[in-house]
């Protein structure tokens, strides 16, 4: 299942629409990496609102994605982790403590704006 990725100014917004298989997650990672490179995006929002389970593979892959995108010059924020999912993740013992997270798309964009401003780079 392809995850739709929208381009908004200097940002990419990937909105997950349904349960993702492992292959889908890896594909998302690769798609974002390619597009960040192509569009020279400064920020990426990955919206996981719809995901009802974030298991160890999902978390590992998202972590890897954030780091790869950072190497490509983009800040990434993961948004929309639901209360029940956050609770389950903590019980399972998987965390995203070095990756940026925000409540929802709106907050995610606010976060990216601050990051981009702070780093002194301004949009093209």
């Amino acid at each position: 299942m392809q995850v739709p990725i929208l381009k908004q100014r200097n940002y990419l917004i990937a909105t997950i629409q349904s349960a993702l298989t492992d292959a889908d997650l890896l594909q998302l990672r690769d798609e974002l990496t390619a597009r960040v490179g192509r569009f020279r995006s400064l920020g990426v929002v990955i919206d996981v609102t719809v995901l009802d389970v974030m298991d160890s593979f999902a978390v590992r892959t998202l972590r890897a994605t954030v780091h790869i995108l950072k190497l490509r010059g983009a800040e990434t924020v993961i948004v929309g982790i639901q209360p029940e999912v956050a609770f389950a993740m903590v019980q399972l013992g998987v965390t995203l403590d070095r990756e940026a997270t925000a409540l929802d798309l709106e907050e995610g964009l606010v976060y990216l704006d601050r990051q981009v401003e702070g780093s002194g780079r301004h949009g093209r």
Binding site: V85, A86, F87, M89, V90, T95, T101, A102, L103, E107
Partner: protein
Amino acid sequence: MAERRKGSTSRRPMGANVPAASLSEIVAHLRQNRTILREEWARRITEAQLLTAMTSEEIFAEATSIYDSYVEVLESGSVEALQAYARDLSERIIPRGVETHEVAGMVLLLRDVLARSLFEKYQGDFGLLNRVLDAYEPAANRVANTVAVGFVQERERIIRQQQEAIRELSTPVLQVRERLLILPIIGLIDPQRARQLTEQLLQAIRSNRAKVVVMDITGVPSIDSNVANYLVQTVDASRLMGANVIVTGLSPEIAQTLVVIGVDLSKMDTVGDLQGGIEKAERMLGYKVVPADETL
């Protein structure tokens, strides 16, 4: 007359498997005498002053259902239907204030009423009576047991549910400013309460779009691994939702205890007292609290 013929099974050689035939006799007898025996039972219930919380119509209605289920269990040997009925019955009468001894007493009375009836019928043939009782007793005891135990278990289940509800009511999450939640925790934290507190807070973070939570543990009397786990879990889970947690009410001694338990306090934002925590939260949110006379 027909029963006499069925009674000829008593002339089977010893050692043959009689109980099945006896049971079907018993069942037939109980079904035939349903009206009389049921009334007798209802009378004895009232006489023993059981089920006083129910009207006599209600008692009769339940007595009918139980009687029929009882006979069915004797016949089929399967307690599942009876278990289901026992649960259902308990769910209905527990809120009415019916006590365990009343339920146990009532079911035992039925056993007695039916046993007497069998005594009466087979008193002429002691050998046959014994075989009939051999068949009847284990089955009847299982029924009594099932109903009484079912009642007690249902009560326990309801009590657990109520405890859960009480726990939920006892900790409010306060929103004092936009994007800022305060969670004052009072009392002991056990794993069940910890789970409930965390879930409540996470839901509140979403509905209030909170960015900072000030969690005050001044009112938690003892700091142990349950509390430590709860704190760490809450901080981690809140962060996943984009909210920072400031823990307040930590004295140096408590901080020391937590470190000894193994909590990495460097990953946690802590401030000594609630007021300090709120101020820090406000700074984080970009609020500046200005004394009233300066705003003029």
